[in-house]
Amino acid sequence: MLAVLAFYGAIFLVAYGYRRSIEPVERKTFVAIGLVWAVSVFIANYLLYLVGAMSYLPWVTNFLHTFVWIGFVLTWLYFGVREKENLAVQCVLFTFFSLVVKYWEQQVFGTWGHDGFFGIDGNTAYILGWSIADGTYPVLTLLVLRLAAKRIPGLVAI
């Protein structure tokens, strides 16, 4: 577990390079985005396992992956890049980091072992497919945040 956390930490340093702090005015937005992603992906991972689209992620692994990795590190990265890089570059960055994290988790925990991604055979397709799905994080966040900002006060949408 420490090895995985250390890996998250290493990638967090990249995100930290983009952005050193979350300003007070943005903290509500940061927490909202992080929590929404973490909770929804945590649940989705289990439901997708139940329908056979994903391999089983043990609860602790699932928690680490969704709350620490996606909810905190990826959200920090998002705040770092959302004003600096165009959307296409953001998507590539998120896909890349998701890919390396999944491989690392596979090496350490033996997870992400499913053989296929929605009809495309092979473990490579599975890991790559979900990494590309994670690459949509910036697009989905941008759209959902803009919608949410129309109704919820105190959010910083761009």
Binding site: V25, E83, K84, G154, A157
Partner: protein, 917 residues
């Protein structure tokens, strides 16, 4: 240059035919493996075949571009084919040629294939040789003098010799491979192996030929580089189609195809990595290039050579192209690459017509090609025409900006004119405006934009006791830095160096991009807000009127004196009187005081006679309200950050300097005064929704009519815009307008010889712009790949108004004594007294025929009490926001027809207490 002889024309035809066929063969070789045939998947020999036929095909086309001067290149093509025949004969004699090859569904013996290829190459050789010998008999052109080589060119020559040696060794090894017992297993598909021999030989011959006389033939070394680059590309494509894990026997062991392919790509890439910088630096050294690539430079020089055509050309095409290169490198436009794109596209466009790249086409044919594609482009018409137009305008700009061309057009710069010494002109000293470099900043009120709206607003808000920070995207150019060089000043003072255009490249939108905004480069013409146009605006008419009077006093706006007005304008005034046209007409009022009549309004008034915001409101604000007004230049706002809620609130602005430094600007209130396009783009980039940002954009659409008289007018020697005519219902306006030669050349009707002749008449010309306030059917759509995307198609009703106004103007100018008038159309439409002017109206109404532009974009963030139909409310606040305002021409709910600067200033004055409260 004498005309091509029949023999030369026949050789040209033959070379173009073979060139086309060889390029077609290259495509088959390149993409064959993607569809079929095991035989086409043998590497690297098939990819070498692509390079061989590709390079020889291009060599044929380049030779065809000027067979008289490139006779030696034809000889090289012949020699390459002879090498091919000999290589195949050697293989037939000594190699194992009995094995079958599976190709396109059937088995064919290698021997049969080789004999077929020998027949083909032999036939090609024989045909070219015959026509070449016939054409050589008529050869009469002496070679161009060889320039002295620069050190960089000498280095390239050494590299070319070394490369030629390596390639010749490669050719020998390719030929020996199939003959040696221990290697023949790796040399599969012998026909392609011989192509590899020819590929290496042809590249070696080209390199040797270029090296032997680098002064004349350096461009041919580009063909060698092209061949190597093509090799990398094709091998990379093949990597997806072949069985990379297959092994071939070699020296008693095996070598895997993946290793062979990797080594081939790596070797070619390494050569390219060495040769491209050497090639580039050799060209840069020869011509002193700093921005354009060699191909782009040669294309520009090639265009200049054929579009500026006349008996007494004052400057060589190379000089003009170099001057444009120097201008482009200094230009601070984010879209300046459009120039490069246009040159690159036009350089390669002739390939689609089986012609060599444009600079390699013989001048007469180059001119004919440009003319035909400009008049009637069949393929990609918008981009072809647009590209040619940009190239032509670069040619005109470079040529007519050069002082050596002035005598031929009868122009004198202000400081050279006879009356200059008697004016006792006082040269400006340091400008009394403190401008900060870009950095993070905090203010009470932040104003984005330092033009007519932003500066008056800054002054008035400071007067009301507020601390103001004015951000300007452009540079701070002090008046003492203004020069008489039009190109230099346009590059420094205009938005995108006059490259801001609608998405179809048909409508140019001029905008100042410097401290002072458009007021630094406009003509300072002032009209009151036209009552019929503003009567429905949601503003207090009495307050607005009071604000106008205050601004008029502040800037000393007054009718200009007759002694500095444009000397050609009597034609217009006489015409109006003679015809008794029912329009208002007279001398313009302007915020200009003590004008010298230099005619430099549009490139910045060095002597501060134009009371622009740079000369007045900004320095005066710092003088009158010390410490309350800060100005920051080179600070482009890229995004407004907002906090959701009801109302929403702006947290801060994110800004960026030209060098990429990011900044954050915080304030209590933010006002956008960046102009109709600029303010709309900032709101669009910031995803400000719920209001129709960018919609209802409109313009004062302008088109000039140029008139020639029978006497010198010296129209350049006076106020650029000095007289006006205005329809009683404000549906159209006329403004006399004349420019120094560069700007006049870019706007001059006609192309090629016609343009040249028209410019020779420069001193007898005067021009009048016709302006129509358009409907609000344009839109700032957002940021596209190449900058702001502005969509606009002129409304038929507006075009009809324009056609009628231009017809009436032609009648006025004829009555005033004009010998002819010229419309600024894509073609050339000229009319003389007595001509049927309904043809003029038809020319205007012909789709996309009239060149249109504007310096007066308006709307985009219209003012409205209703958020569904406007962006700002009557207090200039953006609907739904607590601290975001817009105050510039973008809030106009409709166009004005007349120059909008006084209306913008009036609105800013009117807005100040409302924003302050």
């Amino acid at each position: 240059m004498t005309q091509a002889t029949p023999a030369e024309r026949r050789l040209t035809f033959v070379l173009r035919a073979f060139g086309g066929l060889l390029l077609l063969a290259a495509l088959v070789y390149a993409f064959g493996p993607l569809v079929e045939s095991d035989a086409l998947r043998e590497l690297p020999y098939v990819s070498n075949s692509v390079v061989k036929v590709g390079v020889l095909g291009l060599a044929c086309l380049i030779a065809a571009g000027d067979v008289r001067r490139r006779s030696d290149l034809v000889g090289l093509v012949i020699l390459a084919h002879v090498v091919s025949v000999v290589a195949m004969l050697v293989l037939l004699a000594f190699a194992e040629v009995g094995t079958p090859v599976h190709i396109f569904g059937s088995d064919v013996a290698v021997r049969t294939l080789l004999w077929g290829a020998i027949a083909l190459d032999g036939g090609i050789t024989a045909v070219i040789v015959v026509f070449w010998l016939m054409a050589r008999g008529t050869r009469d052109a002496g070679p161009d003098p060889a320039p002295d080589l620069k050190p960089e060119e000498r280095t390239l020559r050494i590299a070319a010799y070394v490369l030629a040696g390596l390639l010749l060794i490669g050719a020998v090894l390719y030929e020996l491979g199939p003959l040696i017992h221990t290697t023949r297993g790796a040399f599969v598909q012998l026909p392609f192996v011989t192509n590899s021999v020819v590929m290496a030989s042809a590249l070696a011959l080209l390199a040797l030929y270029a090296a032997r006389d680098m002064g004349r033939n350096m461009q041919l070394f580009g063909l060698v580089i092209f061949g190597l680059a093509l090799s990398v590309l094709v091998q990379s494509i093949y990597a997806f189609t072949v069985d990379l894990h297959r092994s071939l026997p070699l020296f008693g062991g095996t070598v895997r195809v993946v290793a062979l392919l990797g080594a081939g790509i790596a070797l070619d890439a390494l050569l390219l990595a060495v040769l491209i910088p050497l090639f580039g630096s050799a060209w840069r050294a020869r011509y002193g290039l700093r921005y354009l690539s060699p191909l782009e430079y040669r294309t520009l020089a090639g265009v200049i050579e054929v579009v500026i055509v006349g008996p007494d050309e004052a400057i060589s095409p190379g000089d003009v192209a170099q001057s444009m290169d120097r201008y482009l490198v200094r230009m601070r436009a984010s879209r300046r690459y459009v120039y490069r794109l246009a040159l690159f596209g036009i350089a390669l466009r002739p390939l689609l017509a089986v012609l060599p790249p444009l600079p390699d086409v013989e001048p007469e044919q180059r001119r004919a090609w440009l003319k035909s594609r400009f008049d009637n482009p069949k393929l990609l018409p918008t981009y072809t025409r647009g590209g040619i137009r940009i190239c032509q305008q670069m040619a005109y700009a470079g040529y007519y900006n050069d002082p050596r061309s002035f005598e031929s057009v009868g122009y004198k710069r202000f400081t050279q004119r006879a009356r200059y010494p008697s004016l006792n002109v006082v040269q400006p000293g340091p400008h009394p405006l403190h401008v900060e470099p870009p950095s993070d900043a905090t203010a009470e009120i932040c104003i984005v934009g330092s033009g007519a709206g932003g500066s008056i607003l800054a002054y008035e808000l400071a007067k009301l006791g507020h601390d103001v920070l004015v951000l300007e995207r452009g540079d701070y150019v002090e008046p003492r830095e203004f020069s008489e060089d039009e190109l230099e000043m346009i590059g420094r003072l205009y938005s995108d160096g006059v490259l801001q255009q609608t998405e179809d490249f048909r409508f140019t939108i001029l905008q100042g991009d410097c401290v002072g905004g458009s007021t630094t480069v406009n003509n300072a013409v002032c009209f009151s807000p036209p009552p019929p146009r503003v009567k429905d605006w949601p503003v207090d008419a009495a307050d607005l009127n009071a604000s106008e009077q205050a601004v008029r006093e502040f800037l000393e706006i007054m009718p200009q004196l007759e002694d500095i007005t444009n000397p050609g304008d009597f034609v217009f005034l006489n015409g109006v009187q003679q015809l008794g046209v029912d329009i208002q007409a007279g001398v313009v009022s302007a915020n200009i005081k003590g004008c010298y009549g230099s005619g430099y309004c549009n490139i910045g008034c060095r002597w501060n006679k134009k009371l622009s915001m740079l000369a007045t409101a900004l320095p005066w604000a710092q003088r009158d309200f010390p410490g309350r007004v800060r100005v920051m230049a080179d600070c482009e706002v890229v995004r407004i950050r907002t906090l959701s809620g009801n109302p929403r609130r702006v947290i801060d602005l994110r800004a960026r300097s030209h060098e990429g430094r990011d900044m954050t600007i915080t304030a209590d209130r933010f006002v956008l005064s960046a102009g109709a396009v600029g303010s709309s783009m900032i709101l669009k980039d910031s995803a400000i929704d719920g209001v129709p940002v960018g919609k209802h954009l409109c313009f004062n659409m302008g088109a000039p009519l140029t008139a020639e008289l029978d006497q010198p007018l010296h129209s350049y020697d006076g106020l650029q815009i000095s007289h006006y005519g205005l329809a009683r219902d404000y549906s159209y306006a006329y403004e006399t307008w004349f420019n120094p030669p560069m700007a006049q050349a870019v706007n001059m009707p006609g192309w090629f010889e016609q343009h040249y002749e028209n410019m020779r008449a420069y001193d007898r010309l005067m021009a009048v712009g016709t302006i129509v306030g358009t409907r609000t059917n344009a839109e700032v759509k957002g940021r596209g790949l190449i900058g702001p995307t502005i969509s606009y198609t002129p409304d038929p009703g507006d075009l009809k108004t324009m056609a009628g106004a231009l017809r009436q103007l032609a009648e006025i100018l004829f009555a005033g004594g004009a010998l002819r008038v010229m419309l600024n159309t894509w073609g050339f439409d000229e009319f003389k007294p007595g001509d049927d002017l309904s043809a003029l109206e038809r020319a205007v109404l012909k789709p996309n025929n009239l060149a249109l532009g504007t310096g007066h974009p308006q709307g985009g963030n219209a003012m409205s009490v209703d958020a569904s139909s406007g962006v700002v409310d009557p207090s200039f606040r953006v609907h739904g926001f607590s601290n975001l305002y817009v105050c510039d021409a973008s809030v106009f709910p409709s166009s004005l027809t007349v120059n909008p600067q006084l209306t913008v200033m009036t609105l800013a004055h009117y807005a100040a207490p409302r924003i302050a409260s």
